[in-house]
Amino acid sequence: MKGILWVGIILLGLGPLVLGGYPLRLAGEAVAWAMGATSLAFLYRTTGLVSLGHAAFFGGGAYVAALLTREDPAYYFLALPLALFWGVASAVALGWLGLRSHGIYFLMLTLAFAQLIYVLAKQGFPGITGGDDGLTGIPRPPGLEGQAAYYLAGLGLLLGVLALYQAFLTSPLGLVLDALRLNERRLEALGWDVRRYKLLAFALSGALAALGGVWLAGQRGFVHPHDLAWTTSGQLLVMAVVGGIRPVYAGTLGAVVLILLEATLSAYTNLWNLFLGIFLMVAALLRLRRSKGAEHVPSGA
């Protein structure tokens, strides 16, 4: 049974290669968004934190790639580590400021940070970031210029990330984080430095989001301030939740579903946001119903 499932997934992954053209381009975008959404799902899964500011890491990674590689595609060797550094460094700085807060306050903190980066890119330094227009003419890494090659490389990268994610969950570190999400106070009472583990998870999440951003920049060939705006954070969050947020594949599934939905619906109607809105409300209610069901499980087990 499981073998058939895997064959099906591999066929789905290779399908766009056969179709080519527009479907292949969509699939390329889906890979990038899947990395971003997975980073949010990872953060929630390991710490229970909800961020509404991942656009800062995602879009930030895209801008780093754009700024460095526009002159010469060879600079991808520099852009990739720098983008990852941006994700880690900004997440650590933000987490250092705000990891004592949680719930709605953490959400707003991340939102404020992302909007700060957004307005700086949009109005603050138009000479560097291209202001309202963003930056165009971003090349792909050498050797991956073709859409098919780029997509395959991205797919491999994504699968590698997911494999690492899976390995992380079963590692001793992953088990500590699992315990952290389940009962933070108890873990702290046992002598673990909870804040440091949260910071670590947040930094890893930021790095993964930045990687997704780099991939998006190469895929599309341009970056736009919109990539840093809070609607992008919202979109990533929506993808993670739609995919079910807990499973390792949640971000990927959510990204694929949402991108397919948008592509299909916007072919028929320009009210895509209306459907997205209804979709979100239904998803939220379904989540609530499920968590209500879970409340009946006796605690302390």
Binding site: Q115, M281, A284, R287
Partner: protein, 286 residues
């Protein structure tokens, strides 16, 4: 000197609009523990409804009177929906749900009113300058400041002296205890929500002569009102007032002196308030 007076007055007028929007957002959070991300949608909806009323009736003041009532009618429906996600420790679901609602409102207004930029002129009585010697200033922003002050006073009196105010404060402070003492928290919440929606819509229409109506206005205003309530302290009307004054004046001064970084400064302020005083500057007092 006159230049500074102009900047401050503009800031105060902006603060009045922000307060109308943020006070409702803060109250709904205080009572229902839900961050109502669709609040900016009602601001925009108020503006568009007022625009249509103004076109039909040809009279600013009638439109001003009717906008809150129409908004409450829409709000009744929305409250039915938002009611499903009230409660603490549901941040993720609440964000998704109200974010979704905001998208629905945004697209429906675009469907009904189109995507072009619309505006409402200030009423003729206020569409002239105030002249004090050599100092000129339009009357309409002064009127906005007056409305803001009146609403602030009215809300204070409502919460301080009426039975409804007592119930709101009880439901916000200790919901389960309030319920045990017979406070109908569900009804209180509904009324708070409708009050917030009416104020937001009022703000949207009053702002229409100064801020053009266009798609995207809802999210712009939502973000600003989030800064306001966070800086002032979520759940408190006084906090919303301080926050609105701070953001309004900071924006006005920023626009005047360093337009490129004014918004960035406001977000930086929000970031540090959240990091060091998560309960807002008024700090946890109710």
């Amino acid at each position: 000197m006159e230049f500074y007076a102009l900047v401050v007055l503009n800031g105060l007028a902006y603060a009045a609009l922000l307060f109308l929007l943020a006070s409702g957002l803060s109250l709904v959070y205080g009572v229902g523990r839900v961050l109502h991300l669709a609040h900016g949608g009602f601001f925009m909806l108020g503006g568009y409804l007022g625009y249509t009323l103004y076109q039909r009736l040809g009279e600013f003041w009638w439109a001003l009177l009717l906008v809150p009532f129409l908004a409450v009618v829409v709000g009744l429906g929305a409250e039915r929906l938002v009611r499903l996600v009230y409660g603490p420790d549901r941040a993720l679901e609440q964000v998704l749900f109200t974010f979704g609602l905001a998208f629905v409102i945004a697209d429906l207004t675009r469907l009904l009113w189109g995507a072009q930029v619309l505006g409402v002129p200030a009423p003729p009585q206020l569409n002239r300058p105030l002249i004090l010697g050599s100092f000129f200033y339009p009357l309409y922003p002064l009127f906005l400041i007056g409305v803001g002050a009146a609403v602030a006073l009215g809300l204070w009196a409502l919460l301080r002296f009426t039975p409804f105010g007592v119930q709101v404060r009880a439901a916000a402070g200790r919901p389960s205890m309030a319920e045990a003492l017979g406070v109908p928290t569900k009804t209180v919440l509904q009324r708070t929500y409708l009050l917030g929606v009416a104020l937001a819509a009022l703000g949207g229409f009053l702002g229409a002569p100064r801020i053009a109506l266009a798609p995207g206005l809802d999210f712009t205003m939502l973000i600003l009102s989030l800064i306001v309530v966070v800086v002032g302290g979520l759940g408190s009307v006084a906090g919303a007032l301080y926050g609105a004054l701070l953001v309004g004046l900071a924006d006005s001064l920023g626009q005047a002196f360093f337009p490129r970084f004014s918004l960035a400064l406001v977000f930086l302020a929000m970031l540090f308030v959240l990091a060091y005083r998560p309960e807002g500057l008024t700090g946890g007092r109710r």
